[in-house]
Symmetry: C2
Subunit: 330 residues, 2 copies
């Protein structure tokens, strides 16, 4: 029996058995067989099989110069939604020996461009981002290399990058129907500036598909405590006695409006109902009876990480793939 059989084969053994260079074996192991003859590829494959060669992780890393670091960019690191998404991403990547690091674009497009440029220059193996930018071309301009990328929470136009999003349209439609069936007659939508943010646009479209005359109230960015917006809302509510649902596209708006609405007695006799997208347990703590839309940011992140791993392992084509994670209304 050959002595060699008792020790673990390494990449050099494979190269010499296949009579090719170590670089060729490395290229084969990393799936870069485009510029390799079929004959060479088969020789390497046969040598690997015969020697029972298993590239270990460390060796693989050395060969590939992979950093096993994955960059994540979120729009605002202060949002619980964003950090839970990051925890979901980490949970999947950790198990595969990758480390996720978090960057904050701070809802600033220029800042995001700067971060992308740095990620492009450093040896990150992949990128998961909740984008401020609008197109894949914007991304390419900044990154300047072929970096496996998954888009999460929002959608790009003119892009075939894999994408993971909440069922924003469907859940908004479904919840609006629920209130209309309960005899509510009017919807007031509370949101930040609608235009250009795909999640908000989808949600508003879902509401309008049921209630075409839903009233849109965009909160001006200067109105931090929503006192101005509440005055506007109150004026609408007291003008007539239509039963009204107040539908907030973001938890922050509810946080400021709900205590005021409760204090002014609007919720008595189910005259006014309040609902919206909510990520934390805060609103239920203020009013346990509120029904809310809970997204699943952890699962959004985990699913994005799975897509990225598929792409990194070259197993599955992820281009144009879209995963939709249902939100819950409860």
């Amino acid at each position: 029996m050959d002595e060699k059989m008792n020790t673990k084969a390494n990449i050099k053994d494979v190269a010499s058995k296949a009579t090719v260079s170590i670089a060729t074996v490395s290229r084969f192991l990393n799936g870069k067989t485009e510029r390799m003859s079929k004959e060479t590829a088969l020789k390497v494959q046969a040598a690997i099989k015969e020697l029972n060669y298993v590239p270990n992780d460390a060796a693989r890393q050395m060969i590939t110069k992979k950093s096993r670091m994955i960059a994540t960019i979120v729009a605002d690191v202060d949002d619980y939604f964003a950090t839970e998404m990051f925890k979901g991403i980490s949970s999947i990547l950790d198990a595969q020996g990758y480390t996720a690091v978090l960057f904050d674009s701070d809802t600033d497009k220029n800042r995001e461009q700067g971060i992308l440029k740095i990620i492009g220059e450093k040896s990150f193996d992949g990128l998961i981002m909740q984008p401020m930018l609008k197109t894949e071309a914007d991304l390419r301009v900044a990154v300047k290399r072929n970096l496996p990328t998954i888009i999460v929470d929002r959608e790009l136009s003119d892009s075939n990058l894999a994408n993971v999003v909440t069922n924003n349209f469907d859940i908004s439609q479904q919840v609006t129907k629920y209130y209309m069936n309960q005899g509510f007659e009017r919807v007031i939508v509370i949101t930040g500036e609608l235009s250009g943010v795909s999640t908000r646009e989808e949600r508003y479209s879902g509401i309008r598909s049921v209630s075409s005359d839903a009233i849109l109230m965009e909160v001006p960015s200067a109105d931090t405590k929503l006192s101005h917006t509440y005055d506007k809302l109150k004026n609408t509510l007291i003008r007539d006695d239509k039963r009204t649902v107040i539908f907030a596209l973001k938890e922050r708006w509810l946080l400021h409006l709900l205590p005021k609405i409760m204090a002014d007695g609007f919720m008595a006799n189910q005259q006014v109902a309040v609902t919206g997208f909510s990520d934390t347990e805060v609103i239920k703590a203020i009013n346990p009876g509120t029904s809310l839309i809970n997204q699943n940011p952890f699962l959004l992140g985990a699913s994005a990480a799975e897509l990225l791993l598929n792409e990194l392992n070259g197993e599955i084509v992820t281009k144009n793939k879209k995963i939709i994670i249902p939100a819950e209304f409860k």
Copy 2:
């Protein structure tokens, strides 16, 4: 006039003018003059002055192999306190051409050790951390290289690393005095497990320095909605009619207890007051009259980043330096 004067001098020009190697000039530029004769250092300095040589940032980076990436580790990325601290760190580092990246130890010591090991292996220039580990020795075991490090929010034992913390003891003492002066007779402290977390221990000591018989209620980790803790609290409150301050060492406890305390009418006639450490605007939204301790996580982060920059620039000795950021009671 020398032709050379019209073009920008580079590091090679400096080396040849000083008749030393490029490596020597590089060491000089990076302040590593320990193993350089005084004569050599003076020659390099003279050549730099004569040629009016200014190392540009890119060149400096190439010379030093600095990545200009700073690692930040927080205990729980879902905490607003942690992410605001990160925003503070970024605000200072950005302006100096450094990029901060965020890691989440997820309040898991083993996970933190793994992250530290990775940071040690990669080319990060510095580290700012809110530690789970307890000593500098634990840190050194994991990082295995001389990485400039600043400790923030918590304190290590047996450590001379620079440290930025809130005035936890003083503010807790001051707030307890305030309530005692208002005629309150009893303090109930609500906290997670006290032992081993320096911030909590400092706060509790501050309270006890004024009210030595303060009642300690540690929330068991399984009691996520605090229903068990509230039952215990309620039993204590109804047993007698002592005017009581409920002092939460973390906002999350207030979030769950305050609506229950209000609903049960305990706050009528100022029989019970509620206060504590609070990072967001949530509690004021639930009850605008609550007085709270606001820390300044942004400033904590910014101050830690300034200390780190001092250390990276070799300008100021930061060892044993401690910066205390006052919290506000309002």
